[in-house]
Amino acid sequence: MAYQFDFGQVVSGEYGQWILSGLGVTLQISGISIVLSLALGTVIAVLRLSKVKPLVWFAASFTEFFRNTPLLVQIFFWYFGSYSVLPEAVNQWLYARDFEFACGVIALTVYTAAFIAEEIRSGIFSIPKNQLEASRACGLSFLQAMAYVILPQAFRVIIPPLISQFLNLIKNSSLVMTIGVMDLTYMARQIEAHTFHGFEAFTVSTLIYLTISLIVSLGVNLYNRRVLHVRSR
């Protein structure tokens, strides 16, 4: 039985529409999660660097727990098991919207925030300690010193590793197909089921992921060379 290749069927007509709408969902869920995980990750990193013991302890266990469990299990936890740990009002709010999409966003955000917090923490460590001491001596509070002196400098160094975390997030977003979010991978799987042309469907969606990754890593290399003056490779 020879396999008949038929790329035309997959990239045009109804199935082409599926791929495009899947790509839209992938970009949408990744975009929302990137913004939220950056915010949450920054908060966790600052908590971990604060001097308040319970906050440090909370931030440390947050990063360790979510970094050391599989994303897929976290997605299932939020999807199947979160109703009994979340407040009733939040549940109602989520059920009234796209519940699968919301669970995907929560899982991706929390998982990536744990990694982002570590990147930000190591970036902040790369700023000499006397910067903080000097700004405290000028009369700034801890939060002011962080917001106006330390973080602006640290983010310059953190940007490349941060962007590779965002890239990981885009790739990880393919896992939300398991709870029925109709993203790019879900659509490829769906076309495979409808037409048995899995080869073409997976080629097209792999190429799309690959294009996103290559464009982003080219951007990071340019940034490294132009802004940080590091020779990549």
Binding site: M1, R67, F199
Partner: protein, 231 residues
């Protein structure tokens, strides 16, 4: 809360239906992870050495392989090997085997980058001195460069093993009987305790991965101290 459901199915989470039925659960996860890291180490070492080679005919294919694999989600790689095995071999591969192959191929691209970084981090004089004493390039690699580079890379390998252990959960999507699948099976059967079941599963993964992460940090400190003494 229904923690009794977790207790009653705990042996199923650990070893699946074994010995009455097929092995599964955490045992299968560990088998996939250990088999995966073993295969990925050798494949990744080969690709990494090709990547740093001076010959374009070796370097370019390795570079293309690394970039393509690192730019693709693991789930896509898993699907590639699962749905394309019939096209290539004419018959389907068992799920566990095709998942294992996908994990090996995926992880080897990351191992190759670790190997490249490790070899390039060694002083250039090491290779020049080894060649100067009359060793061939191959001999210098196997006797001088790799033993030092691989030693320095041990913490990175352990970290990669942690990622791989987490990644084995994706084998569930194509139907391999491992820990995540055991959890969804028990959840589908009981329907009353999803929170408890998935917390238990997360904790099982966490125990393994956290111990390994701490081990890698310990090794890193030891290696740093060892190198500081040598200087």
């Amino acid at each position: 809360m229904h923690w009794d459901i977790v207790f009653r199915n705990f042996d199923y989470f650990l070893i699946g239906a074994y010995p009455k039925g097929p092995l599964g659960g955490l045992a299968m996860t560990v088998i996939l992870a250990v088999g995966g890291i073993f295969g990925a180490f050798w494949l990744g070492l080969g690709v990494g050495l090709m990547r740093i080679s001076k010959k374009p005919s070796l370097r370019w294919p390795a570079m293309a392989f690394i970039e393509i694999i690192r730019g693709t989600p693991l789930l896509m790689v898993v699907f590639w090997f699962y749905f394309l095995a019939p096209v290539v071999f004419g018959h389907t591969l068992p799920e566990a085997e095709s998942a294992l192959i996908a994990l090996i191929v995926f992880t080897s691209a990351y191992i190759a980058e670790i190997v490249r970084a490790g070899v390039e981090a060694l002083p250039k004089g090491q290779m020049e001195a080894a060649r100067g004493t009359g060793l061939s390039h191959f001999q210098a690699m196997t006797h001088i460069i790799l033993p030092q580079a691989l030693f320095n890379m041990i913490p990175s390998f352990v970290n990669q093993f942690v990622s791989l252990t987490k990644d084995t959960s994706l084998a569930f999507i194509i139907g391999v009987n491992e820990l995540t699948k055991a959890a969804t099976q028990v959840n589908n059967r009981t329907l009353t305790a999803p929170t408890e079941i998935f917390i238990t599963i997360a904790v099982l993964y966490f125990v393994i991965c956290y111990c390994l992460t701490e081990f890698s940090r310990y090794l890193e400190r030891r290696i740093n101290r060892y190198q500081a003494r040598g200087r």
